[in-house]
Structure formats: C-alpha cells, structure tokens
C-alpha cells in the first residue's frame, strides 16, 4: 500500500461519506430553531390526531400549489398532497429535526413528483378550477383574461423545464423558501442553486415567449 493511496484515503474518507458534504456546510444551519411542526410531529408519533390536522391545515395549500405546478394535474396534486401526509404520519416516530421542517416536507414532495413523472411519461394536463387560485388580476375584464391566458402558457412552459429547475423555481418563488432551505431540499450548494435558478428563469421566459 503506497503512501499516496493512504494519503488519498485520509483525504477522501471524511468528505465522501458525509451526507451534508454535497449541500455544503455553509448552507446547513448548525442549530435548527424549534418549529411548531416539530412539536406537532412529535405529538403525531404519540397518536395525537389533532396535531396531524394542524400540520395538514398549515401545509395543504402550499403542497397542492407545488404539486399542481410541478405536474399540471389538479387530480394528481390532490393525490400526492394526501400521500405526503400518509408519509409524514408513518415517519413521525423517526423524525429527527436536522433541517427546517419545510425542507423535510418538500424533500418528500419532490421525491413524490419525481416518482410520479417517472411513472407516467405523458399525461394530459388537468387544469385546476380557476376559482381555486389566488387572484392576480385587479378585476378588470382585460386583466383577468390576460391572467387566464398567461396561466395556461406558464403551466405548459413549466412542464418543459428540467425537473430540478422547475422545483427550484417553485421552492423559491412559490413557496418563498430562502436559498439555504431550498438548496438543502435539492441537495445542492447555494451557489449552484443560484446559477440553476437564473438559467431556469431564462428558460421559462423563452418557453413562454415561444408559446405566445
């Protein structure tokens, strides 16, 4: 065994086997502030159903919105949102708060989207009822019509983005996550995320212009 090999092992072992090495130490908070969801999930583990209801009430709309934008199907968004809560319930006893709760939650969500997209290659879009969305137009007829048209264009353009780019955009701009949490969710460094998001925005705009 050469000294060179030993030197390499000494260098690689501490880096290669650390799960947080990909994320970067600067992007993972050393101490995670106590969140109410952590307490609720602990109570879920003890069989407290009202705690699960609280988590559901707080996170159902963000999750539905995320899944709908990611998959373009209102029915799938509802299915996967419920699946998230099944998984949360199942894992409640094993949950260890090593990152923000939202990071944990959207990591589950992202995995579900990934599996769903692998499972079905092509599926016709199932638009959500317009009234279910927050209004972005002031109410004038022209503005409302343009918003509805752009909504359709956006949804089509989002489906054309690479999965990671789409997820990054949604975590930051729809879920208002900070870069640290979004980077941890996507298992990448903050710098890599910034580059990814910049390119994703450009690509999204190009796709939307192509359909306009």
């Amino acid at each position: 065994m050469s000294a060179l090999t030993l030197t390499f092992l000494a260098w690689w072992v501490p880096r290669g086997w650390r799960a947080d090495a990909v994320v970067g130490t600067d992007s993972v908070p050393a101490v995670v502030a106590a969140e109410e969801e952590v307490e609720w999930l602990g109570r879920v583990a003890q069989g407290d159903e009202s705690a699960l209801q609280r988590i559901f009430d707080k996170w159902k709309l963000p999750l539905l919105s995320f899944f709908y934008r990611a998959l373009g199907s209102h029915a799938d968004a509802e299915d996967l949102t419920l699946e998230v809560f099944v998984r949360l319930h199942r894992a409640a006893g094993d949950y260890v708060p090593t990152a923000k709760f939202s990071t944990y939650l959207f990591h589950i969500a992202q995995n579900l989207v990934h599996n769903e997209r692998r499972r079905r290659r092509r599926k016709p879009a199932q638009p959500a009822p317009p009234e279910i969305f927050e209004a972005i137009a002031s109410g004038a007829a022209g503005e409302a019509r343009r918003a509805a048209e752009l909504e359709e264009v956006l949804q089509l353009a989002l489906q054309r983005l690479p999965e990671k780019s789409r997820t990054a955009l949604l975590l930051l701009q729809q879920q208002h996550m900070d870069y640290t949490a979004a980077a941890a969710t996507l298992r990448m460094s903050e710098n890599a995320l910034r580059v990814l998001v910049h390119r994703a925005r450009q690509l999204l705009k190009t796709e939307m212009e192509a359909q306009s």
């Binding site: 072992v13 583990a45 159902k60 709309l61 934008r69 409640a92 279910i132 701009q173 729809q174 359909q211």
Partner: protein, 128 residues
C-alpha cells in the same frame, strides 16, 4: 404571432404567476382527507426503534477501510526468510541429509516389500 396567443409576459408577470397559490381546497379533497385520517387512526405511527448514531456509519466504514489497508499490506508483504541450514542442530541436519538420500527410495518399494520390511524384527534372529 398567433392572434389567439397572448403577448409575451414580462418578468413581473412571470413572478406573479409563479408565486400564485391555491387559495382553497375542494370539498372532495377535504372529504378524502377525513377518510384518510380515519384509516391512519387504525394504523398508528411506527414507534422509533433503536437508531444507530450518525457517527456509527463513519466508524464502521473507517474500520472497513483500515481492515482493507491492513489486509492489502499483509498480502503484498514478502514472506519471512527461512533460517539457513547452518543454524540447524547437527542431529537435525543429519536427519535432513538422510531424508534427502532415502526419501525418494520409498516410492520404489511395492506394498508387499514395504510390509515385510516393516515387520522385520529389530534384532536379527539366530539361524537354527
């Protein structure tokens, strides 16, 4: 440009669209949640069992690498040199010499002769 298509969106419009969320759920969804909660009530969450500490994995893997390194080092090491014949006692050296001279002759003996030789008396019998 297609007349039925909207004009390209600007950055603010894209940001507003991306930030848009569901504002409510459907009655059907809420009904499914109630049914799901009922199912979950019948399958209580798994209790956390014994959990290995995070460092245990590193410890085991480091140990495995160390074992590999040692095994590799031992496998490629030259075998120890056999002590020279000069260091062997004279009696043992004589035995080695006898073995070298006679050992190969054993194969020449057929089974019948070998048995006969083995049963020869140690002291020769006087002839009658």
């Amino acid at each position: 440009m297609n007349a039925s298509r909207p004009t390209p969106p600007n950055d603010d419009e894209i940001s507003a669209l991306l930030a848009r969320r569901y504002r409510d759920t459907t009655a059907d969804f809420e009904a499914r949640w109630v049914a799901l909660k009922r199912e979950l009530r019948q399958a209580p969450p798994q209790r956390a069992g014994f959990r290995w500490p995070a460092w245990a994995g590193h410890f085991v893997l480091s140990g495995a690498v160390t074992a590999l390194v040692i095994a590799f080092a031992l496998g490629t090491r030259e075998p120890p040199r056999v002590a020279g014949t000069a260091e062997i006692s004279p009696a043992l050296a004589e035995l080695f010499t006898l073995e070298a001279a006679l050992g190969r002759a054993g194969a020449l003996l057929d089974a019948e002769n070998r048995d006969a030789l083995l049963h020869l008396p140690v002291r020769p019998q006087p002839r009658s």
